[in-house]
Amino acid sequence: MMMDIFMRRQALILGTLSLVTIVVLWQLVVDFGIVNPFFISTPGAVWQEFLVQLNDGSLLTNILATLYSFALALGLAVAVGIGLGMLSGWFQDVEAALEPFIWFKYSAPTVAFYPLFIAWLGYGTPTIVAIAFLFALTPIYANTLSGIKNVDRDLKRAAISFGARPYDIFFRVALPGSVPVIVAGLRLGVGRALTGVVVAELFGANAGLGYSIAYYAQMLQTNRMMVPIVAVILLGVILTQALSYVEKKTDAWRVTHDN
């Protein structure tokens, strides 16, 4: 236990240390004239620009626009992914029918559909949500499917011995047993939904962090561009960490002690 805390603290210290080192190096390579600040900006300049974008409200507007699309896309992906995943996990025929689309999704880059979506849905939020939805769908669907399909055979047999009906086995055995796998799929989905939103915003949007990055990039304003980039990174870390926390909570019963 003591060892455990020590190890965790040590990992935290080392992680922080390497992060700080990179930031300091970043500043130094510019200060000593090794790299032109046009390419990489500097931590100091990014901080200044952060305060500006915070005060004029543009940063918050962009974060909210990105979060809005993100929430819509993730919500849809969760509803469709878990819904279809449960059906596929339970009914082999549904799984077989959906298989070609899943192979499609795995092998074809989703962004390739981008022009098509613009033709159908126009520039802006609907296209962004559609792309991000497709990004997030696969891991949520695949994990739900495998969770339900690989229902523990010992538990199933025990349930049947007490007279369980298929309905009971699905809702009392397969589904609760799948929660940790489904949540793991959600964690992957969250990261991919955010990626999808930002990528889509780079190409066609009038607000959002991706739009902001593209806008300042076209203006060749590296300092300003760095602010939404850092914001995207932080957002990704926070969302994924939150899901990791939920994952650990729902996974607690899977700990096995051989005593």
Partner: protein, 264 residues
């Protein structure tokens, strides 16, 4: 009322990845009287678990019949409950939740489910652990939960499939004593699969010795040791005699097995 009659029972399994069938159990005849405790022993692969699971209604019968209290077994039923090895507890449910599980599946209508579950948890001595999850319990405690779950539905027949197979020798002995204490309180008809000879003698009124290829009944030994039984009985001369007789049976079967493995 709850006697088990097994007549000319045969169970065929399909060989993996082929259409070929092989008999896991064949020509088994066996009677278990009401309130009798009967153990099934035999080397691995003799079909003892298959036999038990067919009485539970979890394995399809190919030939012959099984009746319980005159009613033919066609599937699981509320007159029977099975105690499995500890992997069969729901890891996301507490002790109470697991003992309630059987009652929930049966749509039990005998009163308050939690009250019924708690009285069984008390019976197996886990009252203090009702809110614990299976992974927080020892192997012996998990088996107490399994026994409580089966007893909670108040079956007429208790079926146990190597319930103590995963436990260490010492815990196993304690659990055997506990099982007898619980069983003696209302003497349900009990069928108990084990590969532990001492356990079988200590617990049973009758021991069914099974042989392999296909699984069949070699002999039924009546254990007429007095009840209630205490651990001292393990050192008695009559106990030793039963042990010797069973060992000889199983050793003959094992020898045959080695011979076949060498031939193969």
């Amino acid at each position: 009322m709850a006697e088990i009659e097994i007549r000319n029972l045969g169970i065929d399994y399909r060989k993996p990845n082929s259409d070929e069938l092989f008999a896991a159990v064949d020509n088994v005849n066996l009677s278990v009287g009401e309130g009798e405790f009967v153990s099934i022993v035999g080397s691995s692969g003799c079909g003892k678990s298959t036999l038990l699971l067919s009485v539970a209604g979890l394995v399809k019968i190919t030939r012959g019949s099984i009746t319980i209290g005159g009613k033919t077994v066609t599937g699981p039923g509320p007159d029977r409950a099975v105690v499995f090895q500890d992997a069969s507890l729901l890891p996301w449910r507490t002790v109470l939740g697991n003992v309630r599980f059987g009652l929930e599946m049966q749509r039990w209508t005998g009163g308050d489910l939690t009250k019924q579950a708690m009285s069984m948890i008390k019976l197996v001595g886990l009252a203090r652990f009702a809110d614990y999850y299976p992974h927080q319990l020892s192997g012996g405690m998990r088996q107490r939960v399994n026994i409580a779950r089966a007893l909670a539905v108040d079956p007429e027949v208790l079926l146990m499939d190597e319930p103590f197979g995963a436990l260490d020798a010492q815990t196993r002995e304690i659990m055997g004593g506990e099982l007898l204490r619980i069983w003696e309180s209302d003497k349900k008809t009990a069928l108990f699969v084990t590969h532990d000879i001492d356990e079988a003698i200590f617990l049973s009124d009758k021991i069914v010795v099974m042989g392999r290829n296909p699984g069949h009944v070699k002999e039924v030994i009546t254990v007429d040791l007095p009840r209630p039984r205490t651990p001292e009985i393990l050192d008695s001369e009559r106990f030793t005699e039963f042990r010797r007789r069973l060992r000889a049976h199983l050793a003959a079967d094992m020898a045959g097995m080695h011979f076949m493995e060498e031939a193969a």
